[in-house]
């Protein structure tokens, strides 16, 4: 509720709800602390103005109340940490779905474009070679590898099937970018020299913006891509429309 009031959009991923929920709890906790703290603060400033209290009390507060409040704060923080934060993160980085059960897309950042590389109907990525990278071959596909014939390489458009886990393998060609999928409540830096996977499950169809979340040069502000979460029919239509020329016909999948 607070998050919504503050203008946070609804998440479109399965785990996003949990993050939303956790942030909501944080915000209520912060609000309670701030209101309580401020009330005491303002009252004290008023009550102990020199005109109302000409001689200060050497000892001041004698109760232990503040210690108890501090203890409560620590306790709530501990609950947030142990009960929410650690398990949530562990789930994100240790419980990846199997490749076979997921849609795997290789994501590459380059100044100032996102490149999405799909394995195509055969489910196998073709060979890539650094030396083959050119302006017409964004990811250096090896034309001799048959597995690569049906691969789809698209700029700035990420198509995903709804309700199927997604694994994105994120890397970069030049500088550090950050693939920020605000709508999915997930993000990951794209770091040259490393490939880092993330996973999530989109649960709502629609079009969402993809942000570059790390300063990457003069065009950083416009490094925007679109993510389409498609129904199975739309997804099949997109696959068909984008099949590369000369690719073998898509096998009939059950």
């Amino acid at each position: 509720m607070l998050n919504h009031l503050l203008g946070m959009p609804q998440s479109a991923s399965e785990h996003g709800f949990l993050i939303d929920h956790m942030l909501e709890v944080c915000h209520w906790f912060m609000l309670a602390l701030f209101v309580g703290w401020s009330t005491f603060f303002v009252f004290t400033l008023f009550r102990f103005h020199e005109s109302r209290n000409p001689r200060a009390d050497y000892h001041g507060v004698k109760t232990k109340a503040s210690t108890h409040i501090e203890f409560m704060v620590v306790l709530i923080e501990a609950v947030l940490l142990l009960g929410f934060a650690l398990p949530l993160w562990a789930k994100r980085v240790t419980q990846f779905p199997k490749d076979a059960d997921a849609q795997v897309v290789k994501v590459t950042g380059q100044q100032f474009t996102w490149i999405f590389h799909y394995a195509g109907p055969d489910g196998i990525f073709g060979k890539q070679d650094l030396n083959l990278i050119s302006t017409s071959n964004d990811v250096g596909m090896d034309p001799k590898d048959p597995a690569g014939k049906d691969d789809i390489v698209a700029r700035n458009e990420l198509h995903l099937l709804v309700n199927k886990p997604v694994i994105l393998e994120i890397g970069s060609k030049d500088v550090i970018h950050s693939l920020s999928l605000q709508a999915m409540f997930i993000g990951q830096d794209a770091i040259p020299g490393t490939i880092t996977p993330i996973w999530f499950k989109p649960i709502r169809t629609g079009q969402y913006e993809i942000i570059c979340g790390q300063l990457c040069g003069l065009g950083h502000y416009g490094m925007r891509a679109m993510m389409f979460v498609d129904s199975p029919e739309d997804y099949a239509a997109w696959l068909k429309d984008n099949a590369p020329a000369g690719a073998p016909p898509a096998p009939q999948k059950p």
Partner: protein
């Protein structure tokens, strides 16, 4: 002591005590070894840089609110000075990135650290512990000189081919490594930034060694550790942070410098492809190594910014509530804990770099742990108000405002401590608002409190109270006008470092209108600083003359004459009691100075 062996210095010290408008002022004061002169040098230079860094942001705010439109009034002037960066008075993305990087660098390394640590530390610490000067006066002078050179290099970098550094104040590799690959890599802004940093870090190291030795060795007789004012504790801990955290960044800066000018690949991995072409480097380096080295400095740096501020607020609060600081011991131990913990939280700046569950758990836990000592210190300051006889002098107004402002900054740090939440909030304006609440209405307000509070000690004159209030109230209003809407933009998903302020993105549309509101707040905040600037200079010459202890304060600096002569005290001080003996029951005066027998 070395200082008294220098005849030139003794001569100069006498002049300082009696004569302020000597025609040779500059010549004699530039090479002074007196801690008070160095403190004032740092303070004035720091304030100028602070204002300059603020002005860079004012330019950026025009671009964010009215992107693509020529800057009014200043536009034609800037178009003449920077024809490539501001053609026709319209800012280019490169120049916007330069302004962003330099705003951060200047505010942190040339504004706040020099004022909070070097200026107040130099001026106040020896006086507060009853010392005649710093342990190493010449190293102290060298510290200021290194700082000054670093500052000049940073300024000059604006006029290098390609303009000033534009890889962000964090200078992440490989962007900072490959930006402006000019035929002569040496004379580019990005390289100048690294050289400037080496000077600035050297300056901090020299200062920190001096502070540590001075506080440990030169305390007056009777100044036991638990009689040390909280401000001195804060400075001591800050000095340790500088001593231990800055060298890694100095090393890292030199490594990045080598990457740029000597063809090494410390931070460049194999297989970089820029603009469709393989970059001709040896490779094998790691971009993440830079981040680790940078943030190993970067997080202790946050406490370098905040601890002296807390120290100033503690002094001002005790003095203006006329009662001892509540929970002094707890605050001291908390500050020590804070100092220690600040070394093991750095990777919470790197949550999205691909962190495993264990490493992430460690840094999330330490980040939550570090909130505990912060809460204890803030509680000590808050509860100190209870039972006081609060007088709202100008320093007290700023110190009072520090508490809720720092509170907001601290509270909004809670969700950001958690890796999972950062998945959404990473690098959004929520983060920007969070840390600005800590350092702008937090630390900078505390610095203003310090300026108003110790001004009579440095000059023998008070700053004008009416102008002070005219400075405080609009500043408080407008600074919140800048940073409060940033939380809303952040929640909507607006990211930092966007040249058009988010106009390219649909998700930013609902909160885009705040950009103009924030920009106007920023410009009005600038106008609100004019009373301060006027007050500062007017009061140096025409402020009301006051005696050595106008605030009726207890700490030792107020026993020295105002301004203190060379050697500080008329007779060597001896300490008889704790730092905040205000309103002692049975005592007639409401304060008993530390040095009173």
């Amino acid at each position: 002591m070395e200082i008294s062996a220098s005849p030139a210095h003794v001569h100069h010290g006498e002049e300082h005590a009696h004569e302020h408008h000597d025609p040779g002022f500059l010549g004699k004061y530039v090479f002074s070894t007196d801690h008070k002169v160095i403190g004032v040098q740092y303070g004035v230079t720091g304030l100028i840089f602070l204002f300059f860094g603020f002005c860079l942001m004012l330019l950026m705010r025009w671009q964010l609110a009215y992107h693509g439109q020529p800057l009014p009034v200043l536009g034609p002037v800037l178009a003449k000075i920077f024809p490539k960066e501001m053609p026709g008075g319209v800012m280019t993305p490169e120049f916007y990135n330069s302004l962003g990087a330099m705003h951060g660098t200047i505010m942190v390394f040339l504004g706040i650290v020099p004022i909070a640590f070097a200026a107040f530390g130099n001026f106040v610490v020896p006086l507060q512990i009853g010392a005649p000067d710093m342990t190493f006066p010449r190293i102290n002078m060298a510290s200021y000189q290194a700082f000054f050179i670093g500052g000049v290099i940073m300024l000059v970098s604006f006029f290098c081919p390609g303009g000033a550094a534009k890889g962000g104040w964090t200078s992440y590799a490989p962007l900072a490594d490959i930006t402006d690959r000019a035929p002569n890599m040496f004379f580019t802004g990005q390289t100048m930034w690294l050289i400037g940093m080496v000077f600035l870090i050297t300056s901090s190291l020299l200062g920190s060694v001096n502070f540590i030795t001075t506080i440990i060795q030169l305390r007056a007789p009777g100044m036991t550790w638990m009689r040390l004012p909280f401000f001195c504790w804060a400075q001591l801990i800050t000095a340790f942070l500088l001593l231990l955290a800055f060298p890694p960044l100095e090393a890292a800066s030199v490594m990045q410098l080598m990457d740029r000018v000597a063809g090494t690949s410390f931070f460049l991995p194999t297989g970089l492809v820029v603009n469709g072409e393989i970059v001709n480097i040896s490779g094998g380096g790691s971009p993440l190594l830079w981040q680790h080295l940078f943030w190993f400095l970067g997080h202790p740096e946050v406490y370098v910014l905040i601890l002296p501020a807390m120290g100033i607020v503690a002094e001002v609060v005790a003095n203006n509530t006329r009662k001892p600081l509540w929970g002094y011991k707890a605050a001291v131990f908390s500050a020590l804990t804070l100092g220690f913990l600040s070394f093991i939280v750095w990777a919470h700046h790197m949550y999205l770099t691909g962190m495993g569950a264990r490493v992430s758990s460690f840094f999330q836990t330490t980040t939550i742990l570090i909130s505990i000592p912060s809460v204890i210190i803030l509680t000590a300051l808050l509860l100190s108000l209870w039972g006081g006889s609060i007088r709202f002098t100008v320093p007290m107004l700023f110190a009072t405002a520090f508490m809720p402002m720092f509170g907001i900054g601290g509270l909004t740090g809670i969700p950001l401590a958690f890796n999972a939440v950062v998945l959404y909030l990473h690098d959004t304006y929520y983060v920007i608002a969070h840390f600005h609440y800590i350092v702008a209405p937090g630390t900078i307000f505390a610095l203003f409190a310090g300026v108003y509070y110790w001004f009579p000690k440095a000059t023998g004159r008070m700053m004008n109270e009416f102008l002070g209030k005219l400075h405080f109230w609009p500043s408080l209003l407008f600074i919140n006008g800048i940073f409060m809407p940033m939380f809303l933009q952040g929640m909507a998903g607006v990211h930092r470092r966007w040249y058009d302020g988010g106009a390219s993105y649909d998700l930013a549309k609902p909160v885009l209108h705040w950009n103009a509101f924030m920009s106007w707040s920023a410009w009005l905040l600038c106008v609100s600083q004019f009373p301060f600037i006027l007050n500062f200079f007017w009061s140096i010459w025409f402020g009301k003359k006051v005696d050595h202890n106008p605030w009726h304060a207890t700490t030792l600096e107020w026993e020295a004459p105002s301004p203190p002569p060379h050697g500080n005290f008329l007779k060597p001080p001896v300490v008889h009691r704790g730092p905040y003996e205000y309103s002692v029951p049975g005592s007639e005066d409401d304060f008993i100075p530390q040095g009173k027998a």
